[in-house]
Symmetry: C2
Subunit: 269 residues, 2 copies
Amino acid sequence: MSFSDQELKNYAAFAERLADAARAQTLPRFRNGIDVANKAGASFDPVTEADRESERVQRELITKTYPEHGVIGEEFGASGADRPWRWVLDPIDGTRAYVCGIATWTTLIGLEHEQKPVLSVIDQPFTDERWIAFNGATLFRRSGETIACKTSGVTDIKKSRISTTDPRPTAYFTEREAAAYARIAELSRIERFSLDAYGYGHVALGELDLIIESGLQHHDYAALVPVIEGAGGVITNWQGERVGSDDRNEVLAAATPKLHAAAMEVLRG
Amino acid sequence: MSFSDQELKNYAAFAERLADAARAQTLPRFRNGIDVANKAGASFDPVTEADRESERVQRELITKTYPEHGVIGEEFGASGADRPWRWVLDPIDGTRAYVCGIATWTTLIGLEHEQKPVLSVIDQPFTDERWIAFNGATLFRRSGETIACKTSGVTDIKKSRISTTDPRPTAYFTEREAAAYARIAELSRIERFSLDAYGYGHVALGELDLIIESGLQHHDYAALVPVIEGAGGVITNWQGERVGSDDRNEVLAAATPKLHAAAMEVLRG
């Protein structure tokens, strides 16, 4: 790698500034749907505005602070995506949770060096939860307290707490994928749905053990890889390759290498 | 009714004392699975302990303060259930969320007078969210700020944000119920899962519009009725009757009477 630990540390502090700037746009608009709609008419969409304003202020900060870096964002696309350093932004991951007033949406900030994810932040403003991952560690910060994340030691699917955003073949999964997920679900201890990226934070905390998804976009998964790996977990596609290297953008995140291998085996059928 | 508004107001203050006492048991054990397990061995189960200790301290408070009242609790069963006033307790609704470190579990406290729900509290300690319903109103309190809840004005299924804990026929729903739910889901705007009682609080806040469930227990639904009705919503079984009056304990909660009627129509098929 052609950068120092200190350089990454500086970028981590900057990524937290981005998360703070995003919070100032997303949090005041959260659970304000009715009031805002009443004030401004039915054409007003607080989610869309929060999404766009959040990305806009983050892009401004990046351009001002690191004009030589590229940016890829969910809302405004790519600029300088071929540069050595690039930021990957999803201002509101889990917009459906946001629209329903449920605080499982997050702001995702990823930093890639030569296409490889090296740093990320997952931020939930309403609950004041923030994951910061770089230099092979994942920190979790809430109400001024910071802890180092460690995935659970679970190695057996039968003991695993698993999650996927929607288990049905009608949403993210194809029929084949839904059937593969169902095979694991049947063996597992507990299932939870509708968590989007927030669930990966729970794997890092040791509270969930396995996440099985598909159809994620670059801005969805860029921030997930450092958070899972920094906490001692494994995150790949369903074939054990780098996330984003297959057509479906399948994701398999596990607390331990053994659980990951066991899950791959069952997914293969 | 043979009681005054003031009497109910006193019970509301007491119900909040119960919720506070429950918090002191549930919150310190939340997300402590790994540490606690490492300290005390694999046989130690923090959820079970939180559940039982929470109900134990609440029952103690009730017996001490209102010895003439009955109590029905999820953990320790019924005592004096035939008395005019009885408390219905679910110390941790959503234990699976609790076990996965996800703050969508709640403490449910219901007060019934001659078998009718007249007051309730839904409490989420980690996010510091509390719903308090009595005298035809539902209050929402967070970080010392209190607002009056009002359901959304949504009347059309196509515009509705709907929720159920698990949409599949393998969990709560029978095949017939899952098919009926799926008919509504197909028409709806957004679906969210895995919320348990917490979702009903979001209907009261105007953030969700429709919840369709089945197989709820008395300790699950007792606290839901005042919260939904106090915010202007409608909550019945799938036939429009009192919740708990059919064998399946089906629940249909809606933001508006019109949406409720439309959902009943589709559920009937």
